[in-house]
Amino acid sequence: MSELVNVTIDGVAVSVPKGTTIIEAAKQAGVLVPHYCYHPSLPSPAVCRMCLVDVEKAPKLLPACVTTVAEGNVINVNNEKSKKARESVLEFLLINHPLDCPICDQAGECELQDYVFQEGRANTRYEDYAKRFNPVEDFGPDVLYVANRCILCTRCVRFMESVAEEPVLNVSERGDRAFIGIDPDHLLTHPWSGNVVDLCPVGSLISKDFLHKARAWDLDKTASICPGCTQGCNTMIDTRDDIVVRLRPRPNLEVNRHFICDAGRADYRWMNRGDRIEAPLMRDNGKLVPTDWNHSLARLAELTRGARSIVILASGRASTESLGFVRRLADHAAVTAAIKVPLGPEAPLAGVPNLALRKERVPNLNGGGLAGYAATWQAALAATPGADLVIVLDADLDDAEIAGLAKAKAAVVIGTVDDERMHSAALLLPTTNMAEENGTWVNRDGRVQRYYQAKAAPGMARPAWWIAAEAGHLATGAAAPATAADAFAALSGSIPALGGLTYADLGHTGRVVSSATAGAAR
């Protein structure tokens, strides 16, 4: 335990480890010190001067982002002196900032707007002068630079320099002529460069993908996990009217700090697909017909009960709960269960240890490992011909793999997308995608992390764990959980590595349960 320092911030006494900055100590006291250039995942330059606070006995206001607390400090974030200084910084920032909030994507989540609203001047004293004007610039595949809105906090420059370690952004010129510069031959193509959009506290760096798509106040935000790879970056899904419109990083200092990669950021359109299986489809007299859950679950129970050999071909995006309960359906049989793992090049973020877009482009490889998906994909495909039953758990199969299904005695598809190539199956059951359900994934470091339902499921789609558990109940009489939390608790009671954890134990940043390495289950 490091040495503690006692300080009083706006009348609240707190003890914080020696070396803590005032801005972080204030958070402990429940006080937010307004700031722009400071960011906990970047080096602090103390240039915006917004976080100047009054520290009793100090001759001048001190920047809270770089000043460390000293024993006995009495710090006033909200006295007249501090507030006047902030009001002045806001006034200076606004003299050249356009008041184009009505057409600015940042409006509603803009730190300049927020702080001006909170403690800015009611009027302008910068009369009769034209504001600085510079044209909008293209900064890369998904980034536009609106120079006029820039407050030169330099977060973007520092991110590219100190975190991405590819300094393609600069501060150009001096004084009030300064702007963020880029070399036209070296744009923001770094695989993590989209983070500059999130880091920008105003609407200066904006996403082309999100451009004019939604007003921030119309968005519903849901905590989630990136489905893109085994890293398990924490994300926020922004939806508008049940449509996912944006993915953004959610801080988790242990996994992704404040960042996600561009591949993960862009990987959401499939969540909105309209070509879904909306009702259970059951083969009747050689024809697939829509039916209800009662009939289709009974058919699934019947198919599994009678099968002596079962192959499970699962998607690595399936929740641990779904993987676990689908796997339980095969407990009585000879089972070959595997997860399909698409591969891609690894793309690390140089400045953050153990953070990369991983080669294994699915989120729950380790969840599969824990749930008993021990076979390699090739082995599972090899076991398919002649198997009594093949269950496809939302895996994305190619034509050859689909052709293989026909050689099994029966195939059941628990899927999201209505893929006509799969219509030879005995049963097609509509399931939720990750944006439509609660669940957990286990990342490459064995961290079990929750994701939450962000939008409504289409039609009759249900989580795969529910489908499997209900069918299992019909087949064996085993108890079926009613909620994802129950499903997880049930699995956690039977899988030793999960050690009896519950959703409540996982919190918003997850818990490490096993050091199983990614790929072990492949």
Binding site: E161, G181, D183
Partner: protein, 171 residues
């Protein structure tokens, strides 16, 4: 008199600056600094001495030679007002206009220079490409007002009357 080379062919393909003697000069600097980045200001000076100005291609070359990115180099180059990031006339004239010199009549000197060079306005290059004239902040010779720099040559105590004689030395 050290005339800056005229940047006549700035559309032509970039010929590397750091070859031969210029490269030797830069290489000789490396041991004097613990980092290569520290040689950035000197390297930019070398480019300007050789080419009269610092083109985008030259910035890219400097970046390569020093292991930096072009954006980084440009950010630094634009901080320092003495680097020409655009072509300038054959002779570059800097006239001090800060308060001490202003008190002593630098405005009149500037007027005479603008008129006699044909530049017309501050920051402009004369139609014959002979001169570019800028106003600079304090040249550090306030006791010898008005000081001007023509290329690397320092002229102090310049008065409107002396302008013609000085300009004549820079064909």
């Amino acid at each position: 008199m050290s005339g800056t080379a005229h940047a006549a062919h700035h559309d032509a393909p970039h010929q590397p600056v750091f070859v031969g003697k210029v490269k030797d000069k830069l290489d000789a600097l490396f041991p004097k600094y613990p980092t290569r980045m520290a040689c950035l200001l000197p390297a930019l000076w070398m480019v300007q001495e050789e080419r009269g100005w610092i083109s985008a291609d030259a910035i890219a070359e400097v970046a390569t030679v020093l292991g930096l990115t072009p954006a980084y180099v440009r950010g630094v180059a634009t901080f320092y007002t003495m680097y020409h990031l655009h072509p300038v006339g054959r002779h570059f004239i800097q006239v001090c206009g800060t308060s001490p010199c202003h008190l002593c009549g630098s405005d009149e000197v500037m007027k005479a220079i603008l008129q006699q060079t044909g530049c017309g306005e501050v920051g402009a290059t004369s139609p014959d490409d002979r001169f570019t004239v800028v106003e600079v902040e304090c040249l550090g010779a306030c006791g010898f007002a008005t000081p001007i720099l023509v290329d690397d040559d320092f002229h102090d105590s310049v008065t409107p009357e002396r302008v013609a004689g000085i300009l004549a030395r820079y064909p």
